[in-house]
Amino acid sequence: MAQTTGMTMTQKILAHAAGLESVEVGQLLLANLSHVLGNDITTPLAINEFRSMGATEVFDRNKISLVMDHFAPNKDIKAAAQCKMCREFAAEMSIDGFYDGGAMGVEHVILPEKGRVTAGDVVIGADSHTCTYGALGAFSTGVGSTDMAVGMKTGKAWFKVPAALRIVLTGSLPKWVSGKDVILHLIGLIGVGGALYQSLEFCGSGVASLSMSERLCICNMAIEAGAKNGIFPVDEQTLAFLTEAGAGTPQVFAADENAEYARTIEIDLSSMVPTVAFPHLPENTRTFERADTPTGGAVIGEVPIDQVVIGSCTNGRLEDLQIAASILRGRTVAPGVRVLIIPGSQKVYLAAMEQGLLKDFIEAGALVSTPTCGPCLGGHMGILAAGERAVATTNRNFVGRMGHVASEVYLASPAVAAASALAGKIDDPRVVAKASSMSHRA
């Protein structure tokens, strides 16, 4: 008998959800879903599709989350009509996970926070950044509205079992360098199609040093390398997070020793440096110094900016705001730079208020908004005019992403974004943090 090949963590979760002993790369299967997610842009299409199937009830009212976050609080009459459609559908179907108004927040910040996802789950969301929940040890991936509709009706989705890239992390990150720099570095290394149709399986002794916020940020941007999902092993930190959030009982899956990987990439976290993705692709990464930068040596140079956005499903968590506040506290943002701080959820907002971070931001000359996806996708709350540049802690810098087609988005960590807010140009948080002066640098 031929020697059997082991399975990756992703493959094991998919096999379990499909009721199979084992699966092979490329195999198509029908998996039972633990959770189905949609937002105010993708859910209306899904509702239309759901109705067109003649469906009258959802597979499980407790396993669906609808989050009004993209164009909410309603940016115009049309957006209001879309949210209203979702609201009425949620009421009709008695869906318990409808998040709107004071209960809203950016979907991928609030689902983990509210314990809607646990380890071992299979989650689909009609939003590409659904891959975020891989940080919790779940298989989680973005789909379209038709998949969402069929998922809401049947509780099932079809998947092709992905091959895997193994990302071995060692060491720990230097100060002012974060998970965002790690994922930008990786995307710069393998490209926006570098993990196409594959899973990104993070592992190694460096995992333990990454906070849950960092793991969520890293998995969030797996899609920007084309990946089907990103996933982290479950450790003590994961279990503590899930318990704190009141999530369901975790089912822990671990990769087999003899699992096969298409490619293995080793990243020494201690060698990471602040990294920025230039327009108009997340793979266009650059660093502040040329000397043996892992991303290829392109330097950032002088890039004057008009706007800074700190928030989003990538970097809108409390830890992100704490880092930004530690740089902005007692200083003043550069004249002419609009600095937008957007907490990812009401819980984050409240904690930031209680910890005095909002005061730090406002006194530094930033503005603080209610949670929303807003400017990240060029929706509202911070749109760019032609010729304007923004440093954003968001996840995409495509043409026209934050506004006019002739505007530019530079993707960075909260530390780089905050340092840039003070300097009025893209700046290095390691340098800004060293400056003893409390006055602004502009």
Partner: protein, 167 residues
């Protein structure tokens, strides 16, 4: 979903055409397909909507449809009369969305590299063949997996689900 794509001109694009340019998010405050379709590709190609009235095939490079999961992207392409997309590769969410809504797509890097904008193409997806009439070249494409065939034959995923195909 039709498997025979009649001869027509192609509209050619490069690598990494993302869903934000296929249909910019600023228009997604509606689900009206006709209204959305008017803005298809406008951030990279203002002539698309006009050209798509006669040219029914898109040919593109690597990672077509990357970025957002918005199904509005394949929907507006289809709504503009595009009957087939040939790309070197597709981003995975776009790939499944296209089948799920009944828009035929095939991967064929060779056909893409040979093709110029406005070349004449036809295809027989049942037989798995593509033809570039301008260059007088023929290509064989890999057959779809059986489950994808079922989605295609049903006319999309929701129709397959409706007929009990997922039970």
């Amino acid at each position: 979903m039709t498997s025979f794509i009649a001869r027509s001109q192609v509209i050619k694009y490069g690598d990494n055409v993302d869903t934000d340019v296929i249909i910019p998010a600023r228009y997604l405050n509606t689900s009206d397909k006709k209204e959305l379709a008017r803005h298809c590709m406008e951030d990279i190609d203002t002539s698309f909507v006009e050209r798509a009235k006669t040219a029914n095939v898109i040919v593109a490079g690597k990672n077509f449809g990357c970025g957002s999961s918005r199904e509005h992207a394949p929907v507006v392409i289809k709504e503009n009369g595009i009957a087939l997309i040939v790309a070197a590769s597709f981003a995975r969410i776009f790939y499944r969305n296209a089948f799920n809504i009944g828009l035929p797509i095939v991967e064929c890097a060779e056909a893409v590299s040979d093709a110029d904008d406005a070349d004449e193409f036809s295809a027989d997806l049942q037989a798995g063949t593509l033809t570039n009439h301008t260059k007088d070249k023929h290509y064989e494409v890999v057959a779809y997996p059986e489950f994808i065939q079922q989605i295609i034959e049903a006319g999309g995923l929701s129709k397959l689900a409706q007929s009990g195909g997922l039970d």
